[in-house]
Every structure is written in structure tokens, then in C-alpha cells.
Subunit: 313 residues, 2 copies
Amino acid sequence: MKTVRQLGEFRLIRELAKDFPLPPRSVRVGVGDDCAVLRTSDPGKYLLYTCDPVVEGVHFLPTTSAYRVGWKAMARNLSDIAAMGGLPRWAVVSLAVRPNTSVAYVKRLYTGLRAAATRFGCAIVGGDTTHVKHEPFIVVTLIGEVEKANLILRSGARPGDIVWVTGTLGGSRQGRHLSFIPRVTEARWLVGHFGIHSMIDLSDGLSNDLRRLIEANGSRISFEIQPSRVPIARTAHGNLQAALNDGEDFELLFTTSPKDTNALQQQWNRNFSIPLTPIGRVLLHAPGTVWLIQDNGTRHQLPAKGYDHFAGS
Amino acid sequence: MKTVRQLGEFRLIRELAKDFPLPPRSVRVGVGDDCAVLRTSDPGKYLLYTCDPVVEGVHFLPTTSAYRVGWKAMARNLSDIAAMGGLPRWAVVSLAVRPNTSVAYVKRLYTGLRAAATRFGCAIVGGDTTHVKHEPFIVVTLIGEVEKANLILRSGARPGDIVWVTGTLGGSRQGRHLSFIPRVTEARWLVGHFGIHSMIDLSDGLSNDLRRLIEANGSRISFEIQPSRVPIARTAHGNLQAALNDGEDFELLFTTSPKDTNALQQQWNRNFSIPLTPIGRVLLHAPGTVWLIQDNGTRHQLPAKGYDHFAGS
């Protein structure tokens, strides 16, 4: 009898998705992107819909500040809305704490939730609380909106596309996973000014998330990544493996036509203080592979090493 | 330093709600009803939005069938949509299990989730998984829709209204909490055929949920309940205390104008096999109180004894 640890998180989700019936017409995108995309009676917009659990011992420690726990629980979901090109609108929160938790702790946690939500125009409109004996958790669910023309999926990468990342990678373990700024503003600017072909937020490590883009493209593409170009967080002290494999960077990874490269880089630098870096290209060669290409031209395959929730700890 | 156990669940939520900023205009109803009610660009409809955590040791046992756990996690939320007069549309699921959980268990749990969702026309469109060391949990979030004319709030009860309950109460501990049918069909029929003034689903026990209706009405009303009329589940063997105080009945509690009493009872009996029972009246006398009135005319106040998640175990 296979356990979820043996199968791993990604294969578990794939396995479960097999049993799902064909989604109704109202579902433009179901399982398999950063958010579900829903059709409503509004002809110009889609609803975006996502939820994300945050658990003590997995995503935060008993000693983590309650404010930071709340911030992270909300910001992870905001990042998923950003990855689709959308704007967050409404959140509901499920919270489970031990009965001996102080009311002050819960209030500080909510202050963190609200701070992240309010910063990006999102309202917390409901939720429910319960108790646990051992591991507190928070599940935030978000509804966002996106104009149909601005929706960006994982599946749109085209051969020849340039691969970009915002910010720097690999700093999550030094505390950034608790205080990151979801790239909602940057994503809205990108979809408003350039033709973004595909986008994902980096939640499980660059090496895994590149594979998710490949999968979303039916494994018909490959990536060529230049490790010398990958922007490493200062706190990661040049640790390329951390930048490639650690999860919870929550930066945007996206692809654009190569003809936009100069204009995008210039206009980005005029508008934002965080870096935007081209780190490689989308190829057709050996579909399904992520190639690392050194500056001297040698290449080898990048193994998937990012975070798996069932194997990780 | 006060703990959440000392404060209790209802007062905790009230305490948290104090810190919430004024909701934006898009929020017709925020915290304080079975669902949040959201305005979109559709002039004829509202979105309904709710989430509910289900935790091992609180809502189910390690020995509970995985199918039943999934059914319950979905059905609780369906019941919240029903209580607003709406139709469930889209679900997302956050699932946390121990790494040594069998894949077969998770698949059966999803079969239960899907069975409940599909029965009421709801699609599971996404979600996320993670692991826990101790207590598995499932959080289902639902989006529903309701025509503006059909929206029923907790706050609409009027003095003189008749108080009704569907089905029978008090059978949850004998297993019904795992297999109940959310009253989506009945609620849709009710809002389509009668002027329902206020409605709630019975999740925390009749005595507590009556108080929630009182609170939603600004404590300006009281209830007079005839215990001899309260329909007790056969499995509760005449235990009135179970029918008044045990949670997780997930029947509908609603109020209507007394002039509808006969027509409602007759047409209900023609359409449904589960009972519909008038159990009392809405009063103005001693606002904030739930009165129990015996058949001989004596009355006393009903103490709140329903389930509190932080005190209950």
C-alpha cells in the first residue's frame, strides 16, 4: 500500500486529478495552475480562486512571530493571484489553534493577515476557527479578478521565449519566507505593458517550478538556464543550490518573446527597484528537460530537487 | 493573559471582528452570517463565500471512513450555502495528512468530497496538499451564487414570525454528523416559494444557533420555543437535551410570517419526505432571551449549552 510520502506531493496531486470528472464550462482552468480560473456572467473578466495551507512545523515554527505567520499565510495566496496577472479581492480564513493559545497571539496573527491583505486591496470577509491538540494551522482562500486579456497561464511558454525572474532567489531559509512581498504590483504592471506568455510564482524552488511550466505545456518544451545569471539573494552568500532548489522565494518566473527583451528590461528598471533578470530560454530540444548551460558552453540536466511536502521533513 | 479557551469561540470571533476595518462596498455581508455575500458586476446575483475546517480528533476520528471524512468536509460548506438560499458552484480543498497515509486513503477521501459536491452541482476546481505530524485536516472553501431576491440572512427575523426546523435534531453523535444531507434542495425550494425572513444552518446546536439569530438581529428579538414540538431524531431516543444542544445537525432553522404557516406546511409535505416542524415564535418580550415554554404554560430561559470548539474537548 503506497503512502503519500512514497508517491510525493506532485504525483499525488496528479493521481487525484485523474479521478476528477470533466469540469463544467464555467471552469476555464481547474487543477494545474496557480489559481483556478472561473467564468461568471461578466464577459470581460474571470474570477481567480486559490487556497493554501500553512502549518506549524512545516511553514512556520512555534517561535515564529504571530504577525509573520499571518503575513505569510496571506502573502502566499496573494502571490498565486499575482502569478495569473490578477488583482486579489476577497479572503476567507480558517484558523485552528490550541485552546491554551493567548487571545493576544491570535489578534497579532490577524494583524499580519490584514496587513498583507490591505496592502494589496484585498478584504478579509469571513472565516471560521477551531481547535487542535498539536499543530496550529491557517488556511487562507482568495478570490481575485483578472481582465480576460490579462490572464496569464503556466501553459503559454513558446520556444525561443526569454525566461525572467523578479528579485533574488535562495534567501527563504534566512527568514525571507516569513516577510516576502508578493509581486502583485509587478505582475499587474507586466501584464499591462508586455505580452507575457507564461507565468508562475516560485513556491517550490526554481528547479521544480520550471518543471511545472514544462508539464503545463504538455512536456513539449525544455528550458536552458544559465546558472551564472541566476540572481542569488545576498543572504544566501552565493549559494547557487539554494537559489535553484529552496522553496518559498515567491518571486515571479515568466517568459516573453525575445523581441521584448530590451524594452522590458529598460522600462522595468525605470519602474521598480527590485531586479528583473533574464536567466535563460525556452527550447524545443529534448522536451521535458531543464538544461543548465555554463558560460563555457557545457551543459547538463538540472535534477528536480525542490521542496516536496511529504518528503521534505 | 487570556486564552482562547477562556474566551470561547463565539467571543473570540466577535473580538477579532472589532479590529476589522469597514468592509469595501463590494461586501454586502462580511463576518457574522453563514457565508460572506459579495457584489460583482452581475446586477442580479451575489456571490456566496464560505470556508470550514475539519480536523481529526474534533470533527472525525482516526477510525472514521475516509469517504465519510470527505463527505462531511464538503457537506458542512454546502449547508452554509443552503442557509443563504444559494446554489453551490465551485470548491477548493486544502488537505493535510501524515506522510505515512496511504494514497488509497486520500483517494477515498476525495471520492467522498466529490460525491457530496457533485450531488449538488458543485465542481472541485483546485486546492493544495501539505503534511502534518499529528492531526490531519481538510479545509473546503465554497463559492456559491444566489439571485439577489433569494438571499436570506440571519438578520431578517420579525416579531410574530413562526420558527421552523427541517428534519430531526439530536442524532449527530450517533453518526449522522458524518452522513447528513445538506439541505440545499430544500432551501432553494423554500426561497423560491415562500417569503423566508431569516435562516441559519444548525451547526452548533439549536440553543446556540437561536442565539446567533438573536445576535444577528441586534439582540432586539427573543424566541419562544415549545420543547414538546422539537423533532428529536429516532437515534437520540427522546433525548431533548441532545436535540437542543448537540451540534452538527445541519438542518435548516428559519422564520416566516405566521400567515404562511398552513400553505408552507401543506406544500412542504407534498414535496419532501423529511419533516418540517414549527417549534416556536419570534417575540419582542425580554429581547436576547430564548424561552422554553412547556405545554402547561410555564416558561424558563434556555441556557446556551451548544458546542464551543475551544471548550468542548
